[in-house]
């Protein structure tokens, strides 16, 4: 990649689409690998993207994942169109979850998603209003 270049990826994520769950994250990871991003940064970005993708599938009425890759940083935006998080502080607590039994049977809903996204990323911003959508923005700095 030259300094001017930027790679942009965009994936639609559908509610309850467990059959395709992980496709967006898997593709993102493959692109990061191909671009030669260091493996620990690739791994952190892949895990955070996967958590975000699962959140959209489990909790929202659909959304998208946008990945912008520059030479110095990766920006991952997970955006959904609702229903929003009424209490973000609570949602950021480890172990707090509103997931259904069905989701738990699939191995998710441990209440670790948002805290884990924050832990994996170098910059983490969450914007949500009850009744509206949620946007999570994550930054990963690339240092070779």
């Amino acid at each position: 990649m030259s300094t001017q270049d930027m790679v942009k990826l965009n994936y639609r994520v559908y509610p309850e689409d467990f059959a395709k769950a992980g496709d967006a994250s898997s593709n993102t990871k493959k692109v990061l690998k191909k671009l030669g991003i260091p493996s620990d940064i690739t791994r952190r970005a892949a895990v955070a993207t996967y958590e975000a993708e699962m959140n959209i599938i489990i909790h929202s009425s659909g959304g998208e994942i946008i990945v912008n890759i520059w030479t110095t940083k990766i920006e991952i935006i997970a955006k959904d169109c609702g229903p929003g998080i009424p209490d973000i502080d609570k949602a950021m607590q480890k172990g707090y979850s509103t997931a259904s039994d069905h989701v738990r049977e699939m191995g998710f809903g441990a209440g670790m998603g948002l805290p884990n996204m924050k832990r994996c990323s170098d910059g983490f911003l969450i914007d949500s209003k009850g009744g509206e959508g949620t946007t999570v923005t994550m930054i990963f700095y690339i240092d070779y």
Binding site: F18, A21, G22, S25, S26, K29, S39, R43, A46, V47, T49, Y50, E51, R104, M106, G107, F108, G109, A110, G111, M112, G113, P115, N116, R119
Partner: protein, 120 residues
């Protein structure tokens, strides 16, 4: 510990990634909650689980986990095996329960990831 050594002591059968048994792992982590795996595990870890859906393999893929060991005689579905082959992940199953499997591996020197200080 090498994957082929793990197969031996667990009386396990390898059902995906057979050609990649010469990889080495340092840690093991047992869970049926993938959210916990995503929060605690590193790439030098072997995953022990009884959950058999494709999300387990997806989780391993994201974390660069070399191998998944299904406990209690469980075997993953066809979609999981396909995904594992595609991503170079070794899959084996053992008749032992999670507790026994963990005990055997721990006794043989495979560490828990607690020793990295990642679990707080």
């Amino acid at each position: 510990m090498y994957l082929y050594e793990i197969r031996g002591i667990l009386d396990a059968e390898v059902i995906a990634g057979k050609s990649r048994m010469d990889r080495e792992v340092e840690f093991a982590f047992g869970a049926d909650l993938m959210s916990d795996v995503l929060a605690f595990v590193n790439e030098r870890t072997v995953l022990l689980t009884g959950l058999t859906n494709p999300q387990v393999v997806r989780t391993a893929e994201m974390m660069d986990i070399a191998a998944i060991i299904y406990v209690r005689g469980k075997r993953p579905d066809a979609a999981s095996l396909e995904l594992a082959e595609e991503n170079g992940i070794t899959i084996m199953w053992t008749p032992y329960t999670l507790y026994t499997t963990s005990g055997i591996l721990y006794n043989a020197g495979l560490k828990g990831i607690d020793e990295l200080g990642v679990v707080k």
